[in-house]
Symmetry: C2
Subunit: 214 residues, 2 copies
């Protein structure tokens, strides 16, 4: 085992350090965020920082990096208040990664990466047609993170489209069974396999495995 100190981290080459620090948090979610501005221009971008914030009310968030370049997703959310979070499957993960290229404002990543968009009911923002889990959110808050000028963008879940075949009797939605991928760092995509689901832990009680059909 190697121990790396603050001083050594500071001395790393910038790209090396970016790669290493991005790997520390563990296995990440990979999601495509879809937006549409008031002129009707759609945008799609991959994020590896989407997190669960709470179930009552149903809230999700993601980290917005500093606005040193144009951030179309963030601008569209500020302008319209709506966005979508779409799962990334093994089937579309290369197209999803390609959305991270810096396209011009007038170009839609839906077109550029051939990821078809779809609209559900009268929800303003576009969804990714091929994503088996599509979530429509309304902006709830934008919280500044002064220490590095990032922001936590928070949305309230307004709509969910999912494949009920993977929804269990207790509300658990199996993601790995649908080919939904995770990631490490900035550029590694991972498929997942369940090891086990366990009971709610209590002191002095051994864990038991969940018994629903998989």
């Amino acid at each position: 085992m190697t121990t790396i100190t603050s001083e050594q981290i500071n001395d790393f080459d910038k790209r090396y350090r970016t790669n290493l620090i991005n790997c520390l948090s563990g296995i990440k979610s990979m999601n495509l965020i879809g937006t549409k501005n008031t002129s009707g221009q759609t945008n799609l971008a991959i994020f590896n920082s989407v997190i669960h914030l709470g179930a009552h009310p149903p809230l999700m968030g993601f980290i917005q990096r500093p606005a040193t370049v144009e951030r179309h997703t963030f601008e569209n959310i500020q302008e319209t208040k709506y966005f979508t979070i779409n799962s990334v499957t093994k089937e579309v993960h290369k197209q999803a990664h390609q959305t991270s290229a810096r396209y011009e404002r007038a170009e839609s990543e839906f077109d550029e990466t051939s990821l078809e968009s779809t609209f559900i009911n009268d929800f303003h923002a576009p969804f990714v047609a091929k994503s088996p889990l599509k979530i429509g959110l309304e902006l709830a808050d934008i919280i500044p993170i002064p220490v590095n000028n990032t922001q936590l963008v928070i949305g309230k879940v307004k709509l969910i489209q999912l494949n009920e075949e993977f929804l269990k009797e207790d509300g658990f939605l199996s993601l790995h069974d649908q080919g939904i991928v995770g990631g490490t760092g900035l550029d590694s995509y991972l498929s997942a396999k369940e090891i086990g689901r366990y009971s709610y832990a209590k002191p002095d009680l051994p864990l038991s495995k969940y018994s629903h059909n998989r």
Copy 2:
């Protein structure tokens, strides 16, 4: 495909809704956070909300739920300013899940779950001996999230201990190769396998796969 509206989400049974909403964000990181209070009492708790916040400076965060019950991890961080983030492997994932049981303040989850602690250099907070990736952090900020009374706890990376066998020449650290697990929802643990690592995406340029040895 089933479409679920806000009204339907509101009508779900509380436990069902908690399970479903916790699955929406995708595949999650699973980490053990270690702390020690000023009396020397250690604490260890599993979190599935650890995220990367930035590499320059190196920052990580996690979501602290509302203080409706005693939150030993959070109290210790406020008191001492130091905490550790430790990866969860397949080998220890059941013990890691067991740390979520509500032990008394005077009980250490290290002892209760037989996860051995270790100390590195003179860092105040305890690490999990068996975790192949150990990170020591100093509290940088606590940011309130008013919409649901959660908080984003931010730490600056001060120390990293890792197995250099899994560190690539560009700073990428392979997690899946070390048996580090991810999760879905509140109680499902996942092993991961790499599908591919891809080049930095640029418009009008096809992606290429990374070629380092794995």
